[in-house]
Symmetry: C2
Subunit: 406 residues, 2 copies
């Protein structure tokens, strides 16, 4: 990847001529040493507060570029966050994001969809910042705040609970578009686009696509409570474990293959299961069924994606860690390690819990040291940035293809 850097960047440049990058995104990666792959692409990234403050100018510059492309005429932006008004860490993300947009020269106010916000409300973050949430109102085909009518609306709300009526048929530019929300988005569509991206990129590098791409399969019409669809799940798990085993053999990997079963729509690390044998999905107890059947906002899980599990070989102070890379427009602006002391190398780390610690990348993802070792920190960060951009490109294609106006 280091040697091919000019080819890689040239390839990305030509891709971005054809596909419009999402306004922003974060990508969860897993690095097993023999394999580096994206496992989740978030189009409404939280966690901007976890980035290294030294790289704030990079975020601001990228936000300027993004605004120029999407809404150059915009002067004001209405930011719509999630309804987690009690999660002071999430509020800190909203404060960071607001700051980036303001430094990019926009007038920004925060409009809440939460039924609890009925008047302008000052909320404090965990570290003493405060943000002003104002109730959003509909006026004709626009959403506004008192005395604030913006030409663009930036969503930091992934619409897990469905598309609220107040956001339907707006004449303002809605960024990202509504079909990027979990009300319509499917992980399987994303990874299907990623298959094509990874395949073309692997060909460019002359490597096995598997080294960048986890296998996946889907099962629809699952009801964890009624225990329907279990056969599809078990069969897919079994087939995938065998495919992984064959690859592990080819590359001399001695670890035990595993798969991750998760909701095809949804986020926040809910409804996720690590599976090492098809029997495990046949013998779920009541607690596991409950856990799997509901994701954020109480949404029922009926479609699942079965994804090859990728061990994380990264650890920080003996705790397992996975990198999360942040992008604005098609620029990598930073990232952090999700560090979890209470979890194993084969588990999802995007889980709530007091053992979660974000650790900002100390360097940028754009300054590889081609004279250094492949695993030197700047080079590892560069590789993260490359694979994250592959996932971003897949998201761009996915959004293009799922656009209802297409």
């Amino acid at each position: 990847m280091l040697a091919a850097m000019p080819d890689i960047e040239h390839w990305f440049r030509t891709q971005w001529l054809e596909h419009a990058a999402p306004f922003y995104a974060s990508v969860d990666l897993r690095n097993s040493g023999f394999k580096l792959a994206p496992v989740d692409t978030n189009l409404f990234p939280g966690g901007f507060n976890n980035l290294n403050p030294d790289f704030l100018p990079l975020c601001v510059q990228a936000a300027m570029a993004a605004v120029e492309k999407i809404c150059p005429e915009a002067r004001r932006v209405l930011l719509i966050p999630e309804n987690h008004t009690r999660n002071t860490y999430y509020l800190r993300n909203v404060a960071s994001l607001t700051n980036i947009l303001r430094q990019a020269g926009l007038e920004v106010r925060i409009g809440s969809l939460s039924p609890e916000i009925i008047e302008p409300t000052l909320l404090d973050t965990h570290d003493g910042h405060s943000i002003l949430l104002e109730p959003v109102k509909r006026q004709g085909n626009r959403i506004v705040l008192d005395g604030f009518d913006s030409c663009a609306v930036l969503l930091n709300n992934d619409l897990s609970a469905g598309i609220p009526d107040i956001l339907k048929n707006l004449e303002q530019s809605l960024i990202p578009p509504l079909h990027a929300g979990w009300a319509t988005r499917r992980k399987s569509q994303h990874f299907s686009a990623y298959n094509r991206v990874a395949s073309e990129f692997a060909e460019l590098l002359g490597i096995d696509e598997w080294l960048l791409n986890p296998f996946f399969a889907t099962c629809g019409k699952i009801d964890f409570h009624a225990r329907t669809g279990e056969d599809c799940l078990a069969a897919n798990v079994e087939a995938m474990l065998m495919k992984i085993q064959a690859k592990y053999k080819e590359y001399g990997v001695t670890q035990e293959p595993f798969v991750i079963v998760k909701a095809d729509a949804g986020t926040y690390g809910m409804g996720i299961m690590t599976v090492k044998s098809p029997d495990e999905v046949r013998d779920l107890n009541r607690k596991q069924r409950n856990k799997m059947s509901v994701v954020k906002e109480g949404l029922q899980v009926t479609e699942v994606i079965i994804q090859e599990g990728v061990y994380t070989f990264e650890s920080i102070n003996d705790a397992v860690a996975e990198p999360v890379v942040y992008m604005i427009d098609h620029y990598v602006v930073g990232g952090f390690y999700r560090v979890h002391t209470g979890r194993g190398t084969d588990e999802n780390l995007n889980a709530p819990g007091m053992h979660f610690v974000p650790l900002a990348f100390e360097g940028s993802c754009t300054l590889p040291d081609r004279s250094g070792a492949p695993d030197a920190l700047p080079n590892r960060f560069y590789a993260y940035g490359v694979v994250a951009r592959l996932a971003l490109l897949a998201a761009a294609i996915e959004l293009q293809e799922s656009d209802p106006l297409n």
Copy 2:
């Protein structure tokens, strides 16, 4: 400027929709406390080595954006530096610039026009880096190095000595274009464009344009040796000193007005004179005549620009300092203070000499602190970035208007 930030950034966005920014530029500013104005805009900036290394990612990101706009298909770039192969500080700039372009994902090699470079030659910078200069060869309508044919050629050579034949009628993209070189460029054309930019911007802010814009006038057909054209010069100096005096009176400034007389074409702080009375340009001694009559590369001065002098109120350790702001595409990527212990507050600081010290800006120019004092460092840097971008916009308009294909 701080309060109007959203309006300012919106205005710049709309301007960049109409005018293509130069690939890169640096702008010398003078800050007198009551006035902040550009005094020189360099379209072939040296001194990238003087920027704060912490902001290298910002340069790389901006270079990526610039390459995407100007030559997205480019994979290789041939960089053509000045012929100062013995100036180890300039060579260090070439090394820094090469590094930025490489980190942006381009294959870069350095082609020299110097007659001294007849084979690949490794040259050392003052601080132990080394760069490889290779002789440029013409092949049909392309310039190439041995085994290196690039689709784009980046000039870091300001063509003071005229346009060499080897660069004429190339089919490769030449960045910046030939007419940006001092062989054709005139400071007066730049400041004439700046007049229009500053006037529109001042109207946006509701301020007196003079606070951002130095007066200027020109005299053509000057021969310092034959003492022709002196009357034009003296008359212009006198008229301008009176105009400045009137403005000083309006704003209660008690300093003595002065003007700078310099070559209309050319750079490098040669052929520059500080003048406080019209008599001074009538009584030049032989040494002053010699100094004024020749700029870089032995070019004869026949046209001069008379520019309002702006005192610098900035000093660092008792030495006078002036800010220089660097831009790639339309992004401000950093800057430094030109600090000169041997010069006065009314003198040009872009002069060679052992008392010149570059001091990198410690912060970025894009993160104003709107809750801080107007003169707080982040806010001062933001103002520098704004005025530098005004000069950049003037350069964009100037290049558009002077394009021989127009």
